[in-house]
Amino acid sequence: MATIYIDNKPFEVADDQNLLQAVLSLGLNLPYFCWHPALGSVGACRQCAIKQFRDEEDSRGKIVMACMTPVNSKSLIPPLNETRISVDDEEAEHFRESVIEWLMVNHPHDCPVCDEGGSCHLQDMTVMTGHNYRRYRFKKRTHRNQYLGPFINHEMNRCIACYRCVRFYRDYGGGDDLSVMASRGEVYFGRFEDGVLESEFSGNLVEVCPTGVFTDKTYKEHYTRKWDLQTAPSICLHCSLGCNTIPGERYGEIRTILSRYNGEVNGYFLCDRGRFGYGFVNSGRRIRQPLIRNDAGGLESSTPEAVGDKLASFLSNGAKMIGIGSPRASLEANFALRTLVGADRFYNGMSADDSRLVASAIRILQEGPARTPTLREVESADAVFVLGEDLTNTAPRLDLAVKQSVRRKPIERAAMLRIPEWDDASVRELVQDEKGPFFIATPNPTKLDNIATQTYRATPDDLARLGFAVAHALDPAAPSVTDLPDDVAQLADSIAQALKESKRPLVISGTSCASEAVMRAAANVAWALCQDERAGEVYFVVPECNSTGVRLMAERDVDAAIEAVQANEADTVIVLENDLYRRAAGTSVDTLLDTAEHVIAIDHQTHRTTEKAEAVLPAGTFAESDGTFVSSEGRAQRFYQVFVSNGDEQESWRWLQELMGAAGQLEAPAWENLDDITAGLAQAYPIFEAIPKIAPPAGFRVVGQKIPRQSPRHSGRTSVLADVNVSEPKPPADSDSPFSFSMEGYTGAPPSALISRFWSPGWNSPQAINKFQIEVGGHLHGGDPGRRLIEPSDDAKPEYLNDVPASFKPRDGELLIMPLYHIFGSDELSILAPAVAERSPQPYLALNPNAAASLQVRDGEVVEITLDGVAQRLPAKISPELPEGTAGLPVGLPGLCGVTLPAWSRVKK
């Protein structure tokens, strides 16, 4: 810590930061543009000018840029004895106002028609500096805009050339198709030519850009001002990482999603699937009313009352019920289903493979010594070994974290030259393209390959063998691998060496290879690293947002449910938020649905399972429900209802509670609100003991007030429905959370788990996050939300895992079809968003050149494969690095669901 004087008042601040960070962390206001807490300083905009004085005697001082000046004045050249600055200095204030005036020379007067208006950092900073009159009397420069794809809108005239977009996109995000071009007053930020932005993180430009150059194109389709959005804290459900989000709603539609800063999880950034995948909430495939099968065999809309009577007739009279839960439904919804059907008749809703693999991940993390890091901690790993996971496509935000971790080792040199880490340009010039140790072993090429030290392509069995060999090289006590080819043995040795030499080694694996051997090998590597006081870490990516949570609840999977029905142990099946055709072979699911006497589905989307059900109940999506997901980190996080729908939708658990009534269960729990269920969860499962504590209870109030979901500026409340009724309607009640569906309530900063928007007086853009952090870029006041449920036991000394698989043997006449994941396409819900669907590939079969040659197939020609007895005809795509004897099939695309991969298939032309 260091003492600095700001306008003659002493403050204690951390001394490894720059003065802008220090000033903002103290809660003071100082305008800035080019600096960003995650991106560091470059000194381009000259907005954060302050005056620095040599000492108390110095009355003249010197204008310096706060973002480029270290707190520690001894490190200046020449050094100063103390740090004495003025923010309020007249000359500094005038300079800051002048910078805005210069920026405004070319910035258009289009705030009223700009999507950024009301959420604009440039507006905020303009007001902060007091600039309000344009003296420039000449023409402004104009630019042509580009088509950048379905996610991002481009409006270059608004650009103030802060350089943040390219610094995020290229330097931080590793993209290379967005650049700064031209020079002088003509600098242009865009692509070489019109086209879809290639980065999976392009959506962050919306929040990184301090003005309206890059805006959310999906938001534009149904735009409303930020202050008219109704918002609540939420959790992304499009992969297992548990990124925190803020969805915004108006008139019953989700309009946009912003990142909700969580200092341990996603920080400032989201992936494009998480940001733009919300369209399913507004989709025409939503189930809005209860549906019941009529005598003609079709599903027809009904009323909750009518369907209730019908369901009562299914469920009473000793129906043999089973419940199939879902890894994309909340813990609470799953628990309600389990309560309805009984613990021993509850199935976790996962495919057999997923269930087994997620269990393996949980077991490794619970029983072994290796801890799973948070995403922030991933960024500080200094050697990374990825075994079997295509992160960009299965856990995108983790890809972004790993891109930061590969910089750790080279950055150590900056400290030796006394270049502070926040001095971003200097650090990058020193480090250049040097990367720390990073090894990727996957079946197919990944987008991270270009920053890897070495890559290895093999089938899951051979990947596992490499992993086991690395573990053995680290610790001879770990099982060895026999008959490893020399080059693989050498690779294993160099991976082991790099991991051993690092301070924070990390192994990343997961379920997407569908190979337990791969995960066990990863576990052995991490465990072998947990020696000599070193903390080896391991991260397991799992399939869905609540896979970990639901697997902690129940062991039995969808296959077991199918067996139960086939064995006539059940005649009534209740399916919760789950399309079973994505979980098991179509023929088996057909058997289950056809054999069961009654199938009741609860979901928000129409899919093959709901189409075959006898009754369908309309569930609320994440945006119309509250609940808890457990992420792959093992972090339990609460999401909150954003809005009340006009239809009959309600939280799945409420439907299930009604079913308990319909079933005449007299002993059914009298749940009044979500807290009652979480209390039940905590009682039923020791591991969920902390669930009620991850967020304040429904009765929580700040100075007697609820937390409003609407901003104090929410407009039109009294006029919106005036054509119907001039009386102002009563806002909907919310018994489940401390939030109100109105603009009334406590407008200050709530506890971190209850932040429904980042706003502070004078800070209307997402930059207001500064005001919610202990230190800018650090943790939220009161701690980052969520609670980790899985930690290694201190004295864990498990035996190394065994079962090294045999080397892969290609078969004659058949190829092993491997699953290939696509960020846009493989996820069930996000592909229902039109913008995401536009980015998803058409189904294809990936063949390596040898396989293609022997089939005499060229790129794009149609081939036939047979999986689960079903023939599929698909265009071939030549993929040079696929291992011999294998082919690749995209997962989850429409028409390709429900096949269990890897699987052997004959491939015909």
Binding site: G43, R46, A425
Partner: protein, 432 residues
Amino acid sequence: MSEPIREKPLTKNFSPGEAPFDLKQYESGGGYQAVRKAMTEMAPEDVTGVVKEANLRGRGGAGFPTGMKWSFVPMGDRAPKRKYLVANADEMEPGTFKDRLLLEGDPHQFIEGMILAAYAIQADVAYIFLRWAYKKAEALLGKAIAEAYEAGYLGKNILGSGYNLELYLHTSAGRYICGEETALMNALEGKRPIPRTKPPFPQTSGLWGKPTIVQNVETLCNVPHIVANGADWYKSLSYSGNGGTKLFGASGKIKRPAIWELPLGTPMRELLEEHAGGMQDGLKFRGVLPGGASTDFLVEEHLDLPMDYEPVMEAGSRLGTGTMVILDDKTCPVGMIRNLELFFTRESCGFCTPCRDGIPWTHRLLDAIETGDGKPEDIDNLDFIINTITRMLGRTFCAFAPGAVEPLQSGLKYFRDDFEQHIGEKRCPYAS
């Protein structure tokens, strides 16, 4: 001020109208003896030492002491293995053409200077960053480099000393900002030529993150003579404590626009009246940019100033490159400054706000005033931009914008009546 010895080491081999000395001719005039001396008799620190002692100051414009600059480079076993020397031959300052003369007049002298500087800092790779338009220099340098390799002055184990140096000639894409040493390094790396922040200084983290020295052509050309003849001799070449001769130039409506090698500290009046032959007939001297386009105007009252770093600074301008641009009484100062600001508007790299958006505004204002569209408040607006950018460094990212406003601020100071007359008459009074 002592009377200097009258020698012209930098231009002694020049033969105007003829090809410059080839290697043999250069060697027969004593060329490469300094390299031979350094390689056989001097440790790297000795070379730095003598340059420091000679008080050689950088001739690119900023005037930083050369030996001191070299002494910041990490030396010895623990220093990074790769170090660079870069010659800044990206001469683009309007009115300045001295480096071109040195490159075309005696390329081997320049290469010898580079070898010595590289040896002093133990750089094993050197680049010449040459202005794209210097086609003749490019050809001559290419030939001279080949000869130097052939003769063993470049390459592996130079003159049996065990010292290796690879020298590459790089022709720039042609931007003024590339003359800024850190922007030059970015350009050389194939990146956008935007300046870098200091610290870290290039001596510790320069080209590709390695220790680097960037030195102007004229500065490097002095080094062989210092090494060959010693520091005392070098200091005695000038009127002041700053050692050496200087290439001075003059352009504008004078009788003999040219470049002369003269002792540092030669009075401006001597340059103008004796060497340049005075103003053309019928014209009067009005003002002078003493060191290129980015230096403040000086006027009649300053003519007796010695052309040296400190006196010109004290008079409110900078010695800069030492090549004067002269304004006469029949040329419109507003038009001249407008042209200069158009140049700076075009050449700004676009990285920092005051330069990117402030300088073009000055050009728009000057253009309006010059074309009869000026308004009284335009002068206030010019003053506003000047006063906020000012010559105090630290407000803008690099020295470009402060340099760009120097002719404007001094022009407003000395020729304010002209500005007001333009606005009052709504036309340029110089236009016929």
